[in-house]
């Protein structure tokens, strides 16, 4: 976690604005910090798509929780249950071994999945592979596509399709269909934007310098074209991003 106040301190020092009212939190720092968060999310999205993500980079954001699927074999990640907005799915583990062992929970509205609190995911011998929406239709009858329902032996495999808004809520879908069964999901939380100086940014501390550089880069834009600060931070950010992704 990175403290917002720490970002502001470092930015003030770089700007030589300690104790000055030149830069204000509401007008300058908050938009710049939130811009930096969104910028880094975009950078990581590119890294994800290029298969370059190492979870260690974002370890503070990696969570594993257990849900019980809806009767449509879908899971909805309510931000209250998931601890925030889900950014990306890292692993989907059907048929998990849980501690303590738990029976399926009564679900009054079985069209919705159910969050299973107070259980620990121990392990699962299955890990669902992600399919595109086109591939998911293919898996129904093609035994060579993950998630095919034909297998009852050790070739049984699972798959999932990424978020799809079916009825006003974005859900992932597990294949082959499992009705009201437990699934453990490991996912990345999307870092929240900040509102106050006492907030925390859910990025690892090792990224503090990168956030500061990006904040300074944003602030330099306000100062006009061609400032030294702009060119220096632009170069630093490019280098740090290329190293990271």
């Amino acid at each position: 976690m990175i403290q917002v106040s720490q970002i502001i301190d470092r930015a003030e020092k770089a700007l030589d604005a300690e104790g000055s009212d030149r830069y204000k939190f509401e007008q300058d720092y908050r938009p710049a910090i939130n811009g930096a968060i969104e910028f880094l999310i975009s950078v990581f999205n590119k890294a994800f798509s290029d298969n370059k993500l190492t979870e260690e980079n974002l370890r503070e954001l990696v969570l594993t929780r257990v849900w019980q699927t809806s009767k449509y074999s879908r899971i909805y990640f309510n931000p209250d249950d998931a601890g925030g907005k889900v950014w990306s799915i890292i692993r989907v583990s059907p048929e998990p071994i849980l501690d303590p062992e738990t029976d399926p929970l009564p679900n009054e509205d079985d069209k919705l999945s159910l969050f299973v609190p107070d259980v620990i995911f121990v392990k699962s011998k299955y890990s669902a592979n992600r399919l595109t929406f086109e591939e998911s239709a293919e898996s129904e009858e093609n035994i060579f596509v993950d998630g095919n329902p034909s297998f009852t032996n050790q070739f049984k495999s699972y798959a999932y399709t990424n978020f799809n808004d079916n009825a006003g809520r974005a859900e992932i879908e597990i294949l082959p269909h499992i009705n009201s069964e437990f699934v453990a999901v490991t996912y990345l939380l999307r870092p929240d934007v900040i509102t106050t100086e006492s907030d925390l940014i859910r990025f690892p501390e090792s990224m503090t310098n990168l956030v500061v550089k990006q904040v300074l880069n944003s602030l330099s834009t306000k100062q006009g074209d061609g400032t030294n600060l702009y060119s220096i931070t632009e170069k630093d950010v490019s280098e740090l991003v290329s190293v990271m992704s």
Partner: protein, 241 residues
């Protein structure tokens, strides 16, 4: 300890470096190739050797009789369905033997397998058999012929099919991927596993050597060299002469 198919499949997946989550060759594909190629090697092995190592025995197989005709179904003729797929060897030698045991109240019959063994025939030979008293199908000289997955029985018409149970030895093929047990002993001659591995590796490598023009990549695939390509040359290429 007999080898199991799981180890064989995992070994090949490892050799092909297909153990990561974005793999292109799944374990099902490897097992499917192993079964497909393995059946060929196993069939050759059985044909070459007089051995019971790969004969599977089935007991208490019931005889059926149909009152209606249908697709590959002859009305009112005794038959049974093969309990498993068998190799299609010459002269139906995928069936090593079929014997029957009848209800103990039926006198004069010897224990199965000793004498009550069926002889293989073909439908076109039956008229000739009927003309010879020594060859004519009857309770002590029964015949069978195969028609796809059904085996028809001749000579038992005077016995109620419910009073008969069949015993048979079959040379069965490997089970398909939807049924095979990965952790059961692999029903395959172990001394030919190396040949099978080589053949499966060759076939899987071929699947990975996708010609460049057949790759349908998105624009975001920056690593074009990630897709291996090779020129496929004919063995009849004139340059090789």
């Amino acid at each position: 300890m007999a080898k199991i198919l799981r180890h064989f499949v995992d070994d090949i997946a490892k050799d092909l470096s297909q153990v990561f989550d974005d793999r292109k060759v799944t374990k099902v594909s490897i097992a499917h190739a192993a079964i497909m190629l393995g059946d060929n090697i196993k069939a050759q092995h059985i044909k070459k050797r007089s051995s019971g190592a790969f004969m599977t025995s089935f007991d208490d197989v019931t005889i059926q009789i149909s009152e209606t005709s249908g697709d590959n179904l002859v009305k009112r003729r005794y038959f049974f369905e093969l309990p498993q797929c068998i190799y299609d060897f010459n002269m139906d030698k995928g069936i090593d033997y079929i014997a029957y045991s009848a209800h103990p109240d039926l006198k004069g019959l010897r224990p199965p397998i000793y004498n009550q063994v069926f002889t293989r025939t073909t439908p076109s030979s039956i008229p000739r058999l009927m003309m010879n008293g020594y060859e004519k199908p009857d309770i002590k000289n029964p015949y069978f012929y195969r028609s796809k997955e059904k085996v028809y029985l001749l000579g038992l018409d005077c016995i109620d099919p419910e009073d008969i149970k069949l015993e048979m030895g079959l040379y069965t093929t490997l089970k398909p991927v939807t049924e095979i047990d990965l952790d059961a002993p692999f029903d395959f001659p172990e001394e030919t596993l190396a040949i099978l591995k080589r053949q499966v590796l060759d076939m899987s490598r071929f699947a990975l050597l996708v010609p460049q023009e057949r790759v349908n990549d998105g624009a975001d695939n920056v690593n074009e060299k990630g897709v291996p390509t090779s020129k496929i040359s004919s063995v009849n290429d004139i340059k090789q002469d």
